[in-house]
Amino acid sequence: MDTKDPRIEQIMEQILRFARSDFRVRIPVSGKGDELDAIIAGMNTLGEQMDEKAGSGPDFRTLFESSPGLYLVLATDLKIVAVSNAYLDATMTKREEITGRHLFDVFPDNPDDPNATGVANLRASLNRVLKNKKPDRMDIQKYDIPRPSGEGFEERYWSPLNVPVLGQRGVVDYIIHQVKDVTDSVRMQEREKEHARLNMELKKSAQALEDYEARINSLLNVLLKYSVLDFSEKMQVSDRGDEIDAVAVGLNTLGEELQMALAKEKEHIRKLEQANTMLSESEERIKTILQAAPSSVIVIDEEGKVISWNPTAEKMFGWKEEEVMGKPLTETIIPERYREAHVHGLKRFLKTGEGPVLGKTIEIRAIDRGMREFDVSLGISQARLKGRYIFIGFVRDITLQKRAEQKIKELNKNLEQNLAQLESANKELESFSYSVSHDLRAPLRAIDGYAKMLEEDYKGILDGEGKRLLAVVQDNAKKMGALIDDLLAFSRLGRKDIQRTEVDMKELAHAALGELSKAVNHHAEVRIGDLHPARVDYSLMNQVFVNLFSNAIKYSSRKAKPRVEVSSEKKGDEIIYSVRDNGEGFDMRYAHKLFGVFQRLHGKEEFEGTGVGLAIVQRIVSKHGGRTWAEGEIGKGATFYFSLPLND
C-alpha cells in the first residue's frame, strides 16, 4: 500500500468532518475497487444516511457557512466568531486559521500602501454600529489582503455593510460584517477612466496636430500669395509662442515691408505713366493749338533761325514752313530798316539777358513774301530748351484793326466837331430865341399899338375900309405874337428836364379840359374814360392834353354834335392813350406831317392855329420815352395816340 495514496488523506479529512457533524462532503470513488474504495463507499453511505437524518432540522451553521454571501460574524471585541466559505475564498484564508482571532490581526493595513485607510474606516464603522445599534454601510474601500504565502498584500476593493445582531436585552451580541468583493468592477472602472483619459489625450494630440497642420497650411498660403506679390493676407499669430508663431510674426513683418515697397513702386510707376500721358497729351495739345492758333506762331533759335512756323504764319506771310525752316527772320518777314535792330537785340539778350521787347506786345511793321508791308502786333517770349534759348513770337495782322482805329479816330474827330457845332448851334438858337422874344415882339407891339392909336385919334377921318385895313394890321400883329409865343414854348421844351410824379391821368385830363374850356368857347361833348395812371411830369403832360383837346375841339367845331373821347389801354410794355374826335379828320397820306413844327394840313382860313401844338405834344411824349401817332379819315374824324412806357 502506498502511503502516499491521496485517498487516505481524504478519508482522514472525512473522518474529521464527520467528527464535526459535517456530513455534506462525498469522497469520489476511484474505481480501483480496493479496500480504500470500500471504506470510501461506506463512508459516503454513512454520510448520506447522516445527512438524511440531519435533514429533519436545518443545520444553521452549515447553512450560514454555505451562504454564497461573504459574511463574517464578529464578537463585540472584534474577534472572529464565524465566517462563510465564500468569505474565506475571497480573502484566501482558512476557517481554522482565522476563527477566534482579532479582526485587524487577520486583516491589517497594507504596509506598502502609505495611503491605506481600510482599518481605520472599518473600525470607525464597527464602533458606530456598536454605539448606534444600527446597520452601517460603508463606501467602497480599498482594503488589501495579505497573501497566504506571506509575500506582501493583494489589492482588493470592498463594499462593506456592518449589521448589529441584538440579543434579548437589546444589547449588541454580534456584528455581521458583510462585504462584496468589488475589486473587478473598481478595476474595470479605473481601466475605463484610464481609457477615457487616453482617448482624450489622443484626441487632443490629433487636434493639436490638425491645428499645427492648419497653421502650416496658412503659412504656406500666405507664402504662396507673397510669391505673387499679394501681401493683403496676414498670418494669425496665436498665443502659443511656438516656432510657427515666430515664423508668422516674421512673415507678417516681411509682408508689410514688402507691401509698402510694392505700393511705393506702384505709385512710382503710376506717376511715370501719368507724366508720360500728360506729356504726350500736352504735346498733342500744343501741336493742335499751334496748328489752330489764329495768330502766327513763329519760334526761332539763338541765331534767329526759324525752328517752328505754324499754318497761320504760312497764310500771313506767304512762306511755307519748309521754305523758312532754318532761315533767319531777317531774310523773310522783317523789313530792311528793322533788321539791324533785330540782330543787335538778339545778341544783346544772349549777352546781358536784357530784352526790352520780351514779354510785351508791340505794334510793328512786317513784310510778306510779296514784299507787301503791313501792321502787326507782336508778342515775344523766351524759353529755355536743352540749355539754349528759344524765342516764341505771336504775330497778329492788325491791318484791319489799324484801319478801324484810324476810322474811329476820324469819326471821333468828326463827332467832336459836330458836337461843337451842335453846341454852338444850340447857343445860337438860344440867343435867337431870346432875340425873337424881345426884338421881334417889340415891333409887333408898335405895329399893333400905333394902329390902335391911329384908330383912336383919327376915328372921324377913317372910313369903313380904312378901319378894316387897320383891323387886318392889328389882327396879323397878334397872330405873329401868338406864333412867337408858341415857338418859344416849343424851344423851351428842349431844354427843360422832366420831373416825374405819380399822376392820376384822368384827373389831369379833366383839369386840362377845364383850363381849355375857360379860354375857348366850345360846345363839344368830351368824354374822359378811366385812364391808367402814370409817372409823368404833371405840367408837361397837362400841356399835352390841352393841345390834344384844343386840336380835337377845333377840328370838330363845325360838326353839329362835336364829340371827343379819351381812353387808355395797356398793350405790351406800354400804356396807350388816345383822343378821338368826330371832326374833319385828315388824309392818312399826310399823317407823317402832323407832328412837324408849322406843319398844317388845313388852311388858316379853315382853322386857326400856329402849327406848333402837335409838335409840342410829340416833343413832350418823346421826352417821357413814348411815341405819338394818329389815324384819321377825311370827314370822319381823327384819333391821336400817345404811348408811355410801363416800367419807367
Binding site: 415882339r441 417889340a442 407891339r445 399899338g449 390902335k452 392909336m453 400883329a477 397878334k478 405874337g481
Partner: protein, 149 residues
Amino acid sequence: METKSDALEILLIEDNPNDAEMTIRALKKNKIANNIVHLHDGAEALDFIFSTGAYAGKNSFSRPKVILLDLKMPKVDGIEVLRRLKSDPKTKTIPVVVLTSSKEDPDVQTCYSLGVNSYIVKPVGFDNFTKAVCELGLYWQLLNECPKE
C-alpha cells in the same frame, strides 16, 4: 425928359421909344400919372438918379412913387440899374417894376433875387398893354404905401 409938375410920380427907364410913347400915353390917358420922367437907357438913368455925368450937380432927382424899368437896354442894362438901386440905402425902398418882353426871360429870376417888387410882360396887343400898364401904375401909385423917408 419931361417934367410937368413938381412931384415926380413915375420914372420910366425904357430904350424903345415906341414902347415908351405907348406907356406914357396909356398912363396919361387913363389919368394915372402926369409927372413922368422918361430916361432912354441905363447909363442915363444912373446919372439921373445919382446926379452924375450929364446930371452932375443938378440935384434934379426927387424920389418917384415907382420906377418902371426895361431890362434889355444898350450900354447899362436893366439888371445893372436894379442892382445899383437896390444896393443904395437911399433908393433901396423905391418900388421897382420890371417890364419884360417875355416871362421866359432868364433875367426875371435875377431880378427877383435882387429885390424887384414886381414885373410885367409887355403884351403884344395894344389894349392888353395899356391895361397892364394902367393896372400896374394904379396899383403902385394908389394902393402901395411907400415907406416915409
